[in-house]
Assembly symmetry: D3
Homo-oligomer: 101 residues x 6
Amino acid sequence: MNEIIMDYAGKDIKRFFNLDNSVYREGAIPPKYKEMLGLVASTVLKCDDCIEYHMVRCKEEGVTDEEMVETLGIALIVGGSITIPHLRSAFELWDKMNEED
Amino acid sequence: MNEIIMDYAGKDIKRFFNLDNSVYREGAIPPKYKEMLGLVASTVLKCDDCIEYHMVRCKEEGVTDEEMVETLGIALIVGGSITIPHLRSAFELWDKMNEED
Amino acid sequence: MNEIIMDYAGKDIKRFFNLDNSVYREGAIPPKYKEMLGLVASTVLKCDDCIEYHMVRCKEEGVTDEEMVETLGIALIVGGSITIPHLRSAFELWDKMNEED
Amino acid sequence: MNEIIMDYAGKDIKRFFNLDNSVYREGAIPPKYKEMLGLVASTVLKCDDCIEYHMVRCKEEGVTDEEMVETLGIALIVGGSITIPHLRSAFELWDKMNEED
Amino acid sequence: MNEIIMDYAGKDIKRFFNLDNSVYREGAIPPKYKEMLGLVASTVLKCDDCIEYHMVRCKEEGVTDEEMVETLGIALIVGGSITIPHLRSAFELWDKMNEED
Amino acid sequence: MNEIIMDYAGKDIKRFFNLDNSVYREGAIPPKYKEMLGLVASTVLKCDDCIEYHMVRCKEEGVTDEEMVETLGIALIVGGSITIPHLRSAFELWDKMNEED
């Protein structure tokens, strides 16, 4: 998906992409919670592509419906009603992934 | 439109949605001006779905062309040129609603 | 307050400042509501100096306590809990202006 | 700290404050992780007062140095270099709380 | 593209559009660098339409691949990973314009 | 200034800081223009500490008054009136550096 960026990217952009993978890796915080952290940050900053990425990773890490609802609830309270369209697309994707389970 | 959110929502998210209706109800400020307030906030925060919602409500509350132009003018000056794509879709919707009148 | 900007400003910056005055002038929308529109936009974008300016103008235009509470309530719901520190300084200024009345 | 808001607040603003407490309560996600979620959201939205609040709560919930570094690392990568001043004040507060331990 | 805005616009909105052209004109800073400044601002504020406009203008002003990579690299570091979807569409457009050269 | 961050930082945060230096180094774009790019991005994202940093670097790289006015003019038009308090502190610092010349 980011191949076109990589075609042009110099060292700095490539290093940023490495970092962007690195911060979500197993560490003191389990990957599941790291993905939830990434999801909340992406939601309050209203980045749909980023939300989608972290939703898929949350599903892979076994996040439950209840945990997802609480995570997006925090994003909604912190970020306000302008996050609603992003909650909508987030839950649509979540619902689709639930049905495929 | 937000049914998928409601399918998953717990008490907190549902309460937020109630609040999100409540603040625009008749009060010391007439509903027409409350919708204009919601519209300006949505425009400077660049939320197209929210803009659309408040544009429709503004039309229902009898906002005139002149009032709409002044409202979006304030959003443009406060939020800068990055609001222009949102003014464009706002006026396109407004124009469509005007033709249907 | 903006004298230092004006000392350096060329034509473009000066024109922007003229526009920034012009959009709040009497028009189809009464100045009182224009100031409330400016206040909501400033609050969701978290600009304390802009909030202060519009609070003072709201007071001059005779905005009541109830209207102010409803206006900032909309800002809070649209912009979320990160607007809370700005509501705090807004109400502190409002309270000070009320006591001076 | 928010007493001045409460002095003026009507029902809607009060309900929002209740919600703002409610979303961080024990649930499917342990409070410790909820505070980290609140912290990341506050950091990418650059709200120093909110950061301070969640830092104190993180300390109370037993978040370790390693977990704090990973949490703020995610905020930094998602939100970019403009979050750096907020990381600085966050770590200053953390360091002060560590010394008081 | 902005004709619908112009159909409704009053004097203030029209003046803003004039200003929005004026700041990118030849001056002490060559137009090429002004477009890069507009591009970086548009990218960190995540405005795809604005990005597209400045990418086309950058191409017209002879910006090279290396300069474009460095410009978007700065936007990425300042604005963080949420700018990635915008870098992607920016490089896709750039690549298309390169092939048409 | 960022020593407290470095005291706690793990590898990821340190790498980000390296990157944050690297993108402003001499390359296809002269350092002077890179600092102006960083300044515009910091201004529209309203980060006073970042603005200050890039203003000092702009002065070191020989940016003239006219170039500074044009740079901040672009930030003002793209980011709107909420950038005004940041232009004010930017020009105050600039004026102080001019007097020290």
